[in-house]
């Protein structure tokens, strides 16, 4: 059987890629995708822990399911906000919105 640490390593790598996307991409939609990637990395973790440590307790699975749901909700709201901003500024680059600072 593939050892647990391999799953954890994949998850960590995915998580870092997601974080990288949030930090590196200029496009708000791409940033959103980065966040999704981070959340899915967590799901791998959760399912991995569940399978290898507590297969009888459903908590890990349940947690993962909730993460899906909330990620979807977050994406919906996020996209709505981005669209609203796009209508005004004709741009989805968050960094171009910088009237608030200091």
């Amino acid at each position: 059987m593939i050892p647990l640490w391999m799953y954890l390593l994949v998850a960590a790598a995915l998580f870092c890629m997601g974080a990288y996307a949030v930090l590196a991409r200029r496009n708000a939609v791409a940033i959103l995708m980065g966040v999704e990637l981070m959340l899915n990395a967590v799901n791998i973790n959760l399912v991995g822990f569940w399978r290898y440590q507590q297969p009888l307790n459903m908590a890990g699975q349940a947690f993962a399911a909730f993460v899906f749901v909330i990620a979807a909700a977050e994406a919906a709201v996020g996209l709505a906000i981005i669209i609203s901003v796009y209508r005004q500024r004709k741009s989805v680059i968050p960094d171009e919105a910088d009237t608030l600072k200091g």
Partner: protein
């Protein structure tokens, strides 16, 4: 009788009601009502304080702790063992302070009715004055350090409000006033920091903030003595006391409704008032003054003791205090506590190094200067140290510091006063100087003398301030008459407080002059005025302390006393003698009776107050015991204080020192008369004769420049502070971080690279993510680019850096421990 202490909440409550009435309806009530409601509250409060005094004298000065109704368990949480009740303390020390605060306060309230006449915010002024009384009385009657702190902050607030009371005066004067208020606030905040730290330390060390718990005995020696005396006299005292008690019961009945949750320290007879059978039923307790059940605190468990009792017990046991990181012996902790408290005292009582706010505080109306900045609030620091005498007595290092600070302040401020032109500023420095005497007295362990000087000083300094107010008022009105009469206004820079604009007022304002003279002689320490006795007691105690420090203090204080006499006589010459130097002074006239009566009454006390503590065996100074006989015994004030101030003791009279001080003072007056007398108090070019004389020019100029104290602070503290602030705000934050880093370094340097990376390279790198080196480079490049492009992602990267930091800090100990 034994219910009288239950009235003590009223002392605070009455001014509170006065304040509320004046705040809410003052404007509608009009001047007369507003003024008399304010003054009435002060007078009623004084009467209650007086009743408390009668209680004390009738019960062997037994201290009582009172729980006011509704305020039980002010701060009380059982589960974490925090218990800070709202309790008021009636003992000889607090009653002394109450009498001074409300007594002098009442007179100043009445005076202010005349002085503030016509001011547009008249009712508010009285509301503030009453508010001040409320907080000051909380400060002096509280039975724990937190209540003291509440009062301490409250009077600070009132001081701030009243210094800046005329914040809207025209021509920048208003701005100056509010700056003065701010200065007072800020400097006091520094002191409050010390106060808070001291209180925290006390709580940490003793687990309580109460001075003494109900039932504790403050001065064991006095108690032993008292019990011995009472049990000896018991038989004889019985018969006459019977009748006395009958009268007492009726009084007790009247006070009964106010009584709630009684905690008398001595087990006095309780309950059954009004029943005819009461005296008989109470048996032996009902006869005469009650005999205290205990002579010491040995029956009380250590954790049931208040701060001071516990401190003594811990000192006996040689306990250590655990601060988590380090354990310190109790003696060291006491030094720390007292030093922190001392910082608080230097703020409130205007001592070196925090005294510079007090002269500026004279921007407030004169009644405020008299009440808050001379007679009462500024003595709060002295009161606090006398209240904590157990701590100070056992912290020798601090005591030495206290003594030196006090003496240095007394000397420096006395010297500065010589070079001032503003009539109130002279008095302000004089106040600082006299407070220095009191603080020095605390430092050499003469707690009784410190309180004695506090009381006499309250009388004569209030008198002098009110007198100066009367003078200013007179000159201002004179000026007003002149500029109206001539129909041309030279309003622009006429200063009614500048002594150069006065002169010859002796004849225009005779009553003011006479009372001012009394105050001056009292302040200068001329026999037999009040100041002589109190100042001399401090000097004598300094001599008796028999240490090198004591002698140094003594020398400094004697010189300061000579300065006092000199600058006060200089003032008398400039203001009252000679010829009027301006038209305003020419047309000045005497003030109204509402202002003069308080002056007369205060002058009476400035003359007499000293006799209540005349020393024993003072030979010719007491006319061979005549005064003692006349005023009921020697050292009666110190004896009065003893039950509540464990280390108050009366020093023996030192005829030699008294004589030297008196001769020096008289000499200083004569010298001042020589320099300033005969109408030459101000020279032709409007300056001081000492300045004209080349031999004394430097000395006078230095005093006139206030020893460059404010300037030094400005240079050393204010300017660097502002510079750092500016540097942080402008250079670091804006110029460096925003302009330079964001735009220059990051912007220019990486714009090109960023554009290059964003489309072709970025994709390539993601594809080649297996390449470790590439990943590192992209991470670095991306990181730097992120700082550049801006804002949301700058935040995100900060967040990420935070994550890394948190993880590192969390993991470090684990890695170090090698698991």
């Amino acid at each position: 009788m034994e219910n009288l202490p239950q009235l003590v909440p009223l002392v605070v409550f009455i001014p509170l009601v006065g304040m509320i009435i004046n705040l809410l309806w003052g404007a509608r009530l009009g001047e007369q009502w507003a003024g008399w409601i304010g003054s009435g509250a002060a007078i009623l409060s004084f009467l209650v304080s007086f009743l408390l005094l009668t209680y004390l004298t009738g019960s062997n000065y037994q201290s009582v702790v009172v729980n006011p109704p509704f305020l039980d368990g002010w701060l009380s949480i059982g589960s974490i063992n925090l218990e800070i009740p709202w309790q008021q303390r009636v003992d000889t020390l607090s009653v002394t302070m109450m009498l001074v605060v409300t007594g002098v306060g009442s007179l100043i309230h009445i005076y202010a009715i005349g002085y503030m006449h016509g001011d547009e915010r008249f009712p508010r002024f009285f509301a503030f004055l009453n508010m001040f009384l409320v907080f000051m009385l909380i400060l002096v009657t509280g039975n724990n350090f937190l209540m003291m702190f509440v009062g301490w902050e409250g009077v600070g607030l009132c001081s701030y409000l009243l210094i800046g009371f005329w914040f809207d005066k025209a021509k920048g004067v208003g701005w100056k006033n509010s700056l003065a208020a701010r200065k007072a606030m800020i400097l006091n905040r520094i002191g409050d920091f010390g106060m808070l730290m001291g209180i925290f330390l006390i709580f940490w060390t003793f687990g309580t903030l109460d001075y003494y718990k109900p039932g504790e005995i403050a001065n064991v020696e006095y108690q032993e003595h008292l019990v011995a005396q009472l049990t000896g006299e018991h038989g004889e005292a019985a018969a006459p006391a019977e009748g006395e008690h009958g009268a007492t019961t009726t009084e007790g009945e009247a006070a009964a409704p106010a009584a709630e949750g009684e905690h008398t320290e001595a087990p006095v007879a309780e309950g059954e008032h009004g029943e005819a059978a009461a005296p008989a039923a109470e048996g032996e307790h009902a006869v005469g003054p009650a005999i205290p059940e205990y002579v010491n605190n040995d029956h009380i468990a250590t954790d049931q003791l208040g701060v001071f009792g516990k401190a003594q017990r811990m000192l006996e046991d040689g306990a250590e205090v655990n601060f988590g990181v380090v354990s310190l012996p109790i003696e060291t902790v006491l030094v720390l506590i007292t030093l922190f408290l001392l910082l608080g005292a230097t703020g409130k009582s205007a001592q070196i190094p925090l005294f510079v706010w007090l002269p500026d505080a004279m921007a407030g109306p004169t009644p405020v200067s008299a009440l808050i900045h001379a007679a009462t609030m500024v003595t709060a620091g002295v009161y606090m140290m006398v209240r904590s005498n157990v701590l100070y007595h056992n912290a020798e290092t601090t005591s030495l510091v206290v003594a030196l600070i006090g003496a240095t302040t007394a000397l420096a401020a006395g010297y500065i006063a010589i070079g001032q032109w503003d009539i109130k500023r002279v008095l302000a420095y004089s106040t600082i100087s006299q407070l220095g005497f009191m603080v020095a007295a605390v430092g050499i362990g003469a707690y009784g003398a410190a309180m004695f000087h506090l009381v006499t000083h309250a009388f004569f300094k209030a008198l002098l301030f009110l007198g100066s107010g009367s003078v200013i008022h007179g000159v201002e009105h004179g000026h007003h008459d002149v500029s109206h009469g001539h129909d041309h206004h030279h309003d622009h820079d006429f200063d009614p407080q500048d002594m150069r604009n006065m002169g010859g007022l002796r004849n225009k304002m005779p009553i003011t002059f006479l009372t001012y003279l009394v105050g001056t002689l009292a302040l200068a320490g001329i026999w037999p005025f009040a100041g002589f006795w109190s100042k001399d007691e401090i000097l004598a105690d300094a001599w008796l302390s028999n240490t090198a420090g004591g002698y140094v203090v003594l020398a400094m204080l004697v010189i300061a006393a000579a300065f006092t006499a000199f600058y006060m006589w200089r003032q008398i010459e400039m203001v009252f003698f000679g010829k009027p130097r301006t038209e305003a002074a020419e047309h000045a006239h005497e003030s109204t009776p509402a202002m003069l009566w308080p002056l007369v009454i205060l002058a009476f006390f400035a003359l007499l107050a000293g006799f209540y503590n005349v020393p024993a065996n003072a030979g010719p100074f007491t006319i061979f015991g005549f005064f003692e006989w006349l005023f009921g015994g020697a050292h009666s004030f110190t004896v009065f204080l003893e039950p509540s101030v464990a280390y108050a003791h009366a020093g023996e009279f030192q005829g030699g020192i008294a004589a030297v001080a008196l001769i020096l003072a008289l000499g200083a007056i004569l010298l001042a008369r020589r320099v300033y007398g005969d109408n030459k108090s101000v020279t032709a070019d409007n300056t001081d004769p000492l300045y004209v004389n080349p031999a004394t020019r430097q000395i006078w100029s230095l005093a006139n420049a206030r020893l460059y104290w404010d300037e030094t602070y400005n240079r050393l503290l204010e300017q660097p502070f502002n510079a750092i602030g500016n540097f942080l705000a402008h250079t670091l934050d804006w110029t460096f971080w925003h302009d330079y880093v964001h735009e220059k370094v990051v912007g220019r340097g990486f714009n090109a690279l960023g554009d290059l990376l964003s489309s072709p390279v970025d994709l390539g790198i993601i594809d080649g993510i297996v390449n470790g080196l590439g990943r590192l480079v992209s991470w670095l490049a991306g990181g730097l680019r992120r700082i550049q492009t801006g804002y949301v992602r700058t935040y995100a990267i900060t967040l990420l850096l935070g994550v890394v930091l948190v993880i590192i800090i969390l993991l470090l100990p684990m890695l170090q421990s090698g698991s």
